[in-house]
Amino acid sequence: MSKKPKQKKEFKSNDFLIALSAVVLGLIAGAVLMAAIGSNPFEGFLYLFRGGLMNIERIGNTLATATTLMLVGLSVAFAFKTGLFNIGASGQMLVGGLCATLVAHHVFLPRPLYLVVLILSALLGGALWGVIPGFLKAKFNVHEVVATIMMNWIAYWSVYYFVPAYLKGPSLETESASIAVTQSLRTEWLTKMFHGSYVNLGIFVAIVAVIIVKFILDKTTLGFELKAVGSNRFCAEYAGIKVNRNVVVSMMIAGGLAGLAGLTFYTGYARNMQIGVMPSQGFDGIAVALLGASNPVGVLFSSLFFGMLQSGKGFMNAMTSVPPEIADTIIATIIYFTATSVLFKKFWDGVARKMTIRREKEVAAQEAQDAKDAQTVAGRLAEPSSGPDVSLHPSRESIGPVSGGTDGKEVK
């Protein structure tokens, strides 16, 4: 009996299982889609995975793609934890990237110091862009979805003005001058190690960010407060937590993380900023956070998965007759299944309940049997005391069905 609570906990559907079901079902749906347009799904997935992992360079590219997604995913996940929907990661990326690009063009310091300045600039830029909607939410109850979307466009058009005005390249009006490789996040040894891939120091920034966010959420008072606000802001308020302050802080940190994503994208993956482009990673990050169940470690893995899909997609298109648009549809299907994770939760909880019930029944049956055994044993023990005039047969019969018919057969 003492084991029971532990078993129950083990049986409960966990986020990992839900994410896995979403991915598997998404892939199955993708396979159906591929079959429907007359391609071989097995071949399609073969090339999809090979495209992402076939050789060292491609693994590096997968990592490079995942880096930005990881940070955006973290940003969205962090805001989710406080009950906020940060849909403005694109704008925060742009501003973070813009600050980093400015630093890359104008600050010349020894490499380690330079990197610190670079990272801080992007962090602050993104944080600034996140804190404004946070403030509006806290002070005037402006819904953060609306505010962050508007901030996206403000960032978009600010970059549109700023880049040609202050960071213009030698000939094109539509993108900033490229930053030197030595001023970017790319490093010689990493590029060489991955055979000329785009993987860059950003991956370390992202992993450190995952650890720090996990630490903040799980081990600090701030994290506890943020989660409390996310679970039930009225309850948190009643408990004496400053809800508004936490909303602002949460959006600030989320913005900072997205700003870092901008850093890895604009000074690592790319080496210049193009105007008129809203980075799609800002929205893909929402899917990453959903699939990762807003858990930093979950985000780490889901971003790697999405990175692989996005990086392998092109190879699949090149090798099969699956058009690029279908590949995007497959990715979208997986996202769709993640978004409906509630269904999987119900499903797995249902399975878990059935199994628990079955086991409980087994346990109950076992107990009943034990009880019966005990009874008969007790009966046997009681036999001598029941007196010499009682024949052995009745007691034998009572044992019969429990201990098997051997005795009975012998009797016959």
């Binding site: 896995l20 076939m54 390249g169 090149a318 690029p324």
Partner: protein, 360 residues
């Protein structure tokens, strides 16, 4: 349950690695395989991507070639190189790259894949900092004289309308679009001076929207221009131009006399109304399909002009207005044909820079 999770997870991992390690490349094609990486926008953008792709498709159909296009996730050098690598690994070693945004990617690619051939449209390979321009033997760069095309369209529209207000909607302020604009303005001016037409193009009606994909913004710009009395808008703006066409179509359906001049390809069919008429007066064309088609033919004949920068203009029939212009009168078409010859012979010179008197 825990075991199940672990088992599933391991299965997924093994699966992906098994996929990843699968058999070696089986596709060692002998025939030429032609790939294309799309620029910003979709393959059916009714303009740049589509024009290039149609030429490739035509060559593919005629000679039974494998053709394939890939759509990059973004428009950075890394995205482009990734897709080029995908095409290359899949055996597509003749890669067409439409757009100036490919310049740095092609610069890297020409050394990375020396046995592949590249065609870049509207640009030439150079380093990211513009310090070094270098074109290897496996690359051909193509430029068009957009100004001549815009000039012809300007003259044609002016002669047809005789007295009206014109406008211009550009995508981004990039050289190719600017040259269309400058040519358009010079064409109007030429018609006014030499044919006595009274066409006005106000500076306020000469705009760049700032993107190539914002259809709604194109529609808005067109609406405000038509409201101000503009009759003909030259839309050199990709998807933004689609918005302009949509606005003109809805107004024309309501009986208003408005027109659009198309760009890059013959957009006549895009402007068709239910009545069977089109609001596309004419189109300032760059024969993109012809260029990509010709390059493929050259490659198959072994005369790929590697290492060269080709400039396509009136003298080599690289630009022009469509052969069929149902909305232009026969007289106008005859006049425009004469002017085309004059440009060819060098009698008319169309400036490809912002000379005095032109808007930006």
């Amino acid at each position: 349950m825990k075991k199940l999770i672990v088992a599933l997870c391991v299965l997924l991992l093994i699966g992906s690695f098994a996929f990843a390690q699968g058999a070696g490349e089986t596709t060692k094609a002998k025939a030429l395989r032609v790939g294309m990486v799309t620029d910003a926008g979709t393959i059916d953008d009714k303009s740049f991507n589509q024009g290039t792709w149609e030429g490739i498709k035509r060559a593919g159909a005629e000679f039974g070639l494998d053709v394939k296009y890939l759509k990059p996730a973004g428009t950075t050098e890394a995205d482009y190189l990734k897709e080029m690598g995908n095409l290359y690994d899949a055996g597509y070693k003749f890669i067409v790259c439409p757009g100036y945004k490919f310049e740095t990617a092609v610069y890297e690619a020409q050394d990375k894949w020396p046995d592949a051939k590249f065609v870049i449209l509207d640009g030439e390979p150079h380093t990211a900092d513009y310090a070094t321009y270098r074109i290897e033997k496996n690359v051909v760069a193509l430029y068009w004289a957009e100004q001549e095309s815009g000039f012809l369209a300007g003259v044609a529209a002016s002669l047809q309308m005789k007295e009206a207000e014109f406008g211009f909607v550009g995508g981004m302020e990039i050289p190719a679009v600017q040259k269309f604009n400058w040519g358009w303005q010079q064409g109007i001016k030429y018609a006014n001076e030499n044919y006595g037409t009274k066409i006005v193009l106000k500076q306020e009606n000469d705009l760049y929207q700032g993107s190539f994909d914002n259809v709604a913004a194109g529609q808005q710009l067109a609406a405000s221009m038509y409201d101000k009395g503009v009759k003909v808008i030259f839309a050199a703006a990709g998807g933004v131009g689609v918005g302009v066409i949509n606005e003109a179509k809805s107004r024309a359906s309501a009986g208003q006399d408005v027109w659009v001049v198309g760009v890059d390809v013959d957009q006549y069919a895009e402007g068709l109304l239910p009545s069977g008429k089109s609001i596309i007066l004419t189109s300032a064309m760059k024969y993109l399909d012809r260029a990509s088609y010709d390059m493929i033919i050259d490659e198959m004949n072994g005369t790929f002009p590697g290492g060269q920068i080709l400039r396509l203009n009136a003298t080599n029939n690289g630009i022009g207005i469509p052969v069929d212009n149902p909305n232009l009168s026969a007289d106008v078409q005859a006049e425009v044909a004469k002017i085309y010859e004059k440009i060819k012979s060098g009698e008319i010179k169309v400036a490809d820079t912002q000379i005095a008197g032109l808007y930006k």
